[in-house]
Amino acid sequence: MRARSARAVINSSASHVFDVLRFICAWPAPLGVTDISRQLKLPASTVYRALITLEEADYIRRHRNTPRFELAPTPHLLNRALFSRFELHRASRPHLRSLAQATGETVSLWARLGWFALRVGGAFGSRDVYHRARLGETRLLHDGAAASVILAGLSEADLASYRSFVDTHFPERRPDAGWAAEAGELRLIEARGFATSALRMAPGFDAVAIPVRDETGRPVASITVDGPMLRSGAVALDPRALQARDDLEALVAHDPAAFLSPFAHIPADEILIRTPSASEAETDGAA
């Protein structure tokens, strides 16, 4: 009884600390005690203690000697460590780099993680105007071309589970046109073999996503090329992107176990991630 009470106290203190940390992660600018205390409805003394604990442990740091805090290197390192657990993160690097060099466009690799797509690799193109895309971005599987092209290759049973996952955990993210229309879009994507989404700041050009499949034909990842690979409305894909896809599929087929998601032993329904990118509407249109 005594031990349980003590543990409950420790857990509540830890959970405040993680609440504060996640809040700093989700906010676009550095934050001070008062902002956090007001937003999280926690006493200022609790927030202050949480901030000091996080600062001492190198999870946050002061923003340019102001009383405001921003992320320190440790959370970045934890994310890098997580990416390194995806074999695709390492194995795709030379392929992505040569595709970016050959086409001059920014390319990304998204891996399936439960009902999400996670950007685990990428190389910037040679153009000097580009989107500062970053690794670690997560998307629900119907959100955007990179994710939809993975969703489109899943079985009917998986699609049904996915819909109920979104309905339960992200009701605000259900497709505007409804699931029936979404299913039609997905069939189109699967038949065509790629998905596109309009590129921001590049009118008339699309980002193209193509699936990377395992030996059973199920998509495990997708490659996106964020550039004028394809004029809107065109139907032929750049052969260099298809070559990169073939190279990655050959790697996966050669050693399927190595390329399993590090969370393959956890049911997809239990993988719940709430990042700003996964839970807020994006401006670019899907598929």
């Binding site: 005594r2 106290v9 420790i10 700093i24 390192l77 190389a123 997560t138 990042t275």
Partner: protein, 275 residues
């Protein structure tokens, strides 16, 4: 019972931080490495905490979703909820930032000057360092260049280049005049030293002169086993030799810990790859 609860809530550090939570964060920080996973005993040894403390921290971290048990259930791995601990408006730490706490750790360990250098063409350039206040010390001037052959750090950079690159370098640089001396470094001597560095995995060099100086320089690797840079420490041989023998195992363990972090990045990430 009240006493038990108070002892848990009021266990605070100098600045009012909660020690139990600090331990939880310390356990999670260990996973910021390229290692696949950890068991309770391993963490307890690495952190100097009791197994019970480690187990309690692990339980909280699994509850929170920051760690998961591996398929065997015996070991712990990073959980997917770590993905929530990012902010797209903060930039990734660069190499100097990754090394900064370790530059301090090595300084605390040896008490001698510490330098962090990266390669810039045929030179090594100081990007960070600490100078000891003790008499007789290496200078670590940020931004200063040294020819690669001229100090231990530069020689480590050469040693882990290909033989062909080294030969080309030597022919470009010959004659290799040694700093603060009229002597030249014969190519054969350099080759012998570079082979020794490759064999040992780091450089341990004694520079003769009026005040013989002893330095040790360690390569810092990236994810492709290429050099990010070199971390070095050193001082007068008379003072540092015995000290170095004493702290060498700890020094190598510290560098190893740093490499587990730098190996999460590619050395030229800034240029090409997404972060």
């Amino acid at each position: 019972m009240v006493a038990t609860v108070n002892s848990a809530t009021e266990e605070t550090g100098d600045r009012g931080q909660n020690k139990a939570t600090a331990r939880i964060l310390a356990v999670l920080s260990v996973f910021a490495s390229d290692a696949v996973g950890y068991g309770v005993t391993e963490l307890s040894n690495q952190l100097g905490m009791t197994k019970n403390m480690v187990y309690r921290a692990l339980t909280t971290l699994v509850d929170q979703g920051y760690l998961v048990r591996d398929p065997t259930g015996q070991r712990y791995q990073l959980g997917f909820r770590v993905l929530e601990l990012q902010n797209e408006n903060t930039s990734e730490p660069d190499f100097r930032e990754l090394c900064a706490p370790y530059v301090d750790k090595v300084f605390q360990l040896t008490g001698e000057s510490v330098s962090l250098m990266v390669r810039a063409g045929d030179y090594a350039v100081f990007i960070d360092g600490v100078e000891t206040r003790r008499p007789g010390t290496y200078r670590t001037q940020i931004g200063a260049l040294r020819p690669l052959y001229a100090n231990a750090s530069g020689r480590v950079m050469l040693a882990f280049s290909s033989d062909e690159e080294i030969s080309d370098y030597i022919s470009r640089q010959s004659p290799m005049r040694l700093p603060a001396s009229t002597r030249q470094l014969p190519p054969d001597t350099l080759w012998t030293q570079l082979r020794d560095i490759r064999k040992l995995g780091y450089a341990r060099m004694l520079r003769p002169g009026a005040l013989p100086m002893l330095a040790v320089a360690c390569p810092i690797w990236d994810m492709d086993r290429r050099l990010h840079g070199v971390l070095a420490t050193g001082g007068p041989n008379e003072r540092f030799a015995a000290e170095l023998d004493r702290v060498m195992p700890q020094l190598l363990a510290t560098i190893d810990e740093l490499c587990h972090r730098t190996q999460l990045y590619a050395a030229d990430t800034q240029q090409w790859e997404m972060q």
